[in-house]
Symmetry: C3
Subunit: 366 residues, 3 copies
């Protein structure tokens, strides 16, 4: 056998590889099941009953437990890494995240990302790519849609294999609702018991919750979730890559979608125990990175609320995550936790904030 060609395939894209208007069909096609859910539940102590209890979900009119929205968002984001962000420097923003239809265990998911824009930085060595990712089940129903922005180096990826051809068109999402059919027709709250404290009437605009229990991130747990989601960026699980100087922390970095999950679940016994659905997430960012061993905490501020008149209401929170200190300690020292870091002056910023997002939920009243 003669010596043949040597290939070093690399995935993801650099700035020049993105074509505005193009849609990338991500190659992952994965059946989500009870095992996927359990690893999610083993890291995120989530209190939302709709997603945990088959009995509760059926009372609401669902066929079964809907897959947790943040698991869907994580699958969609992770599926897109292979085509979009495996070469990215950073994930910059979550925009208009919605869960229009319930996804059930046993459904097979695929995702696509459409390039909405790209913008070169002033230095010209990198730029921002803006994509919309849509996650669909085996019959094409949209179960999650979101936009995100990532910071990408200029140039093109060397060794990137050509994508298989595809005539897939990403479905539009402008008409996509924020509530699945089972809930959109109105909720019969009669037979539904409140199990946790904290329902619609308990929240007032301006209220701040400093959630008291933290979560230390385990090394194996974050790598398992990353790979289970099919996130292929080596910065999360390849220490040799990180030691080559390619990680800003010098070591493996916890994938941002998991930081999102940790922070949301740390808030959940205080604010999500009577949540029926996650309506939307928006204006989200990761101001600082997280590594294994860091302990995360969360804080929530009520931004708005709207009574729906059927025993439920919508509550909008600003949710933030901080690391290695309690949020009430940061507030005590004068830190402004709830203003987005990007809108602050340099001297008002905190290096403790690892996550921030605006979250709107549908919630039972008392």
């Amino acid at each position: 056998m003669t010596e043949g060609r040597i290939f070093t395939p690399r995935y993801g894209r650099k700035l020049d590889d993105f074509e505005i208007g193009a849609t990338y069909v991500h190659p992952w096609e994965v059946t989500v099941d009870a095992g996927t859910l359990a690893l999610f539940q083993g890291s995120f102590l989530d209190a939302t009953p709709t997603y945990a209890s088959e009995a509760f979900a059926k009372k609401l009119g669902f066929d079964a437990r809907p897959v947790h929205p943040l698991l869907l968002m994580n699958l969609g984001l992770s599926f897109s890494v292979h085509d979009v962000s495996e070469q990215a420097i950073a994930h910059l923003a979550y925009i208009d995240v919605r869960f229009p239809n319930a996804c059930y265990l046993g459904d097979t998911l695929t995702a696509s990302s459409k390039v909405l824009g790209k913008k070169l930085s002033s230095k010209g060595d990198k730029g921002v790519v803006h994509v919309r990712t849509v996650v669909q089940n085996q019959t094409g129903v949209i179960v999650c849609a979101f936009e995100r922005k990532a910071l990408i180096r200029t140039g093109a990826v060397e060794g990137r294999p050509e994508d298989p051809s595809s005539d897939f068109e990403q479905p539009g999402v402008s008409d996509t609702p924020s509530l699945p059919a089972a809930l959109a027709a109105g909720v019969d709250t009669g037979g539904i018991a409140r199990r946790f404290a904290g329902s619609f009437s308990d929240f007032e605009v301006g209220d701040v919750y400093c959630h008291q229990v933290g979560k230390t991130v385990g090394e194996s747990e974050h790598m398992q979730l990353t790979l289970l989601m099919r996130n292929s960026h080596p910065i999360h699980f390849d220490e040799v890559y990180c030691e080559e100087g390619k990680s800003f922390t010098g070591t493996r970095v916890v994938y941002g979608g998991l930081v999102f999950g940790f922070v949301a679940s740390l808030a959940s016994r205080d604010v999500s125990g009577n949540v029926l659905w996650d309506l939307s997430y928006d204006a989200g960012a990761h101001p600082a990175g997280v590594v294994a061993g860091d302990t995360l905490f969360a804080a929530s501020k009520v931004l708005a609320k709207k009574d729906r008149g059927d025993g439920t209401g919508e509550v909008t929170f600003r949710l933030v995550g901080v690391k290695n200190t309690r949020p009430d300690r940061l507030l005590d020292t004068g830190v402004d936790l709830f203003t987005p870091e990007r809108e602050k002056g340099a001297d008002a910023r905190t290096d403790r904030k690892v996550f921030e997002i605006t979250r709107t939920v549908l919630m039972l009243d008392g």
Copy 2:
């Protein structure tokens, strides 16, 4: 938006928060599934065929694999932390643990705890609370019931949200059997093969088993199981809490129900390979704590046996767990392993014992 109220909700109860005779309906409502089971099986190398094999369980007359009893006990105990022991100093005792009916994957579980008693310590700064916890499935069938005692500081929890009102009455357990219906009518052992060594006839009262294989506890694995069970005590997964001086070890402590699981499974190839059901656990305690990195070992002593005349019999073991040394080495140096630590004089105690309990099982004969 004006500055609003600041909340720092805390859960669990201090001694003054407990009312004798009151029942606390725990807020968790969780469907147990194959994913929950797999994380349990990934840490506990359990040999009991009833709980691992659909084919074996059906031969016994069950509809499917019954959920492992220790997984049920862990779910019940963990569900209760939010209302009972999130502020506890220590878990003191397991009493009268039973599994009266099979629970199957797909069942949705809830739990409640009734306060049976509380007793102030002589110093007056803490006390012992005694509760009975009952775990029920979606139709109200009791799948696990146990009593436990916990050491609690005096005072009341600041910031504890009021529980949602409930008229739930905990069902009585005095008539609760120790065997599910499929086994209570007698076992047809005809078509059931013995796969592991160690059946009823092999055990004699007084026999001691020093189980030779240990298990080193991983950091991520114990945190995952803790959260998957919905145990919300921060001492198990919040390093900031522990570094604040709130952990007696200075770091995260492995949740006791998992130590129970590790120790029981370390004994299982020697004594549980022909077990058909776990009839009861009683007189259980955790004399010392366990942290990630500790290696656990188990030893068993046969306390009693009773032939049932149908090819099965009951065997009662005293099961103990020790850390970072083999039980036979402790025996060789004169340590009394099987007397409960609380019944020993101070000079006879060992700081290596992390768990002890009395266990009765239904076992196939040879």
Copy 3:
């Protein structure tokens, strides 16, 4: 109660305990489910669509997702440890690994091992045992069969309990196919989309792939998978055993079947994204050990290919795994990666190679 007998049961066999021609029925009987699969998927970022997608598998004619072949191989190998290799010094070889029939989630698996040969080493203190392991489902269908060799000390195991008697005869495998029925009749590739790059026509004999993404092995993740597979060798999860001088690394060693899984999955986005079935593995070995914290990489070389004329073809790769460096760096420094270590002169060997095997797959054409 008088002092009774003291037992220290040990499992596995030493060289004198093996009888040529004997079949050992492994005691584990385990239902494989979505939870088992998820922990597998959480460590191994596998791209093969047949094993991940219910929708894809059904298009191929399967009833559901077939359980991943390497999960089956790992279950079979691990089940056999209790009887075959719990006292082994090393696992030496994988031979003739096949997956003749699909196994589905919900199937209950058992395994047996037949002793094909044993050979004393020249020093006489150890020897090589050669067994064939067959994994069957609850109806006796063979879902995985392989041979392996292990290095075993001479002597007999002290304290080994006698096996339960059994008249089980291991089924012959000489007629066992390499393709399950759903694929053997020919593949209708019409409705099947290529999602990943890399199909049959893209590979030429002699091509070398240096897979660019590595995977750092987590401590908890490797222990969880080891126990979930029912591998009972303490070298993988009992640090006290390892510190007693019984581990060649001085600490816990990652179980070889997992190294196999890590390495195969690291190659998979480049070479397995259009694979329909794993036809065979052969001539496999673990030249060096792996411990938690090591980062693994993979490389593949195309050894042969065969067009089947129905839009699919067979491709044979030599797959190797290395630790803590990229394979292209080793090639650049003149290391011969693809010759089996055992066939090399001492000065040509590399201490970086942790795995090597010959792999044949059925693959979609473009």
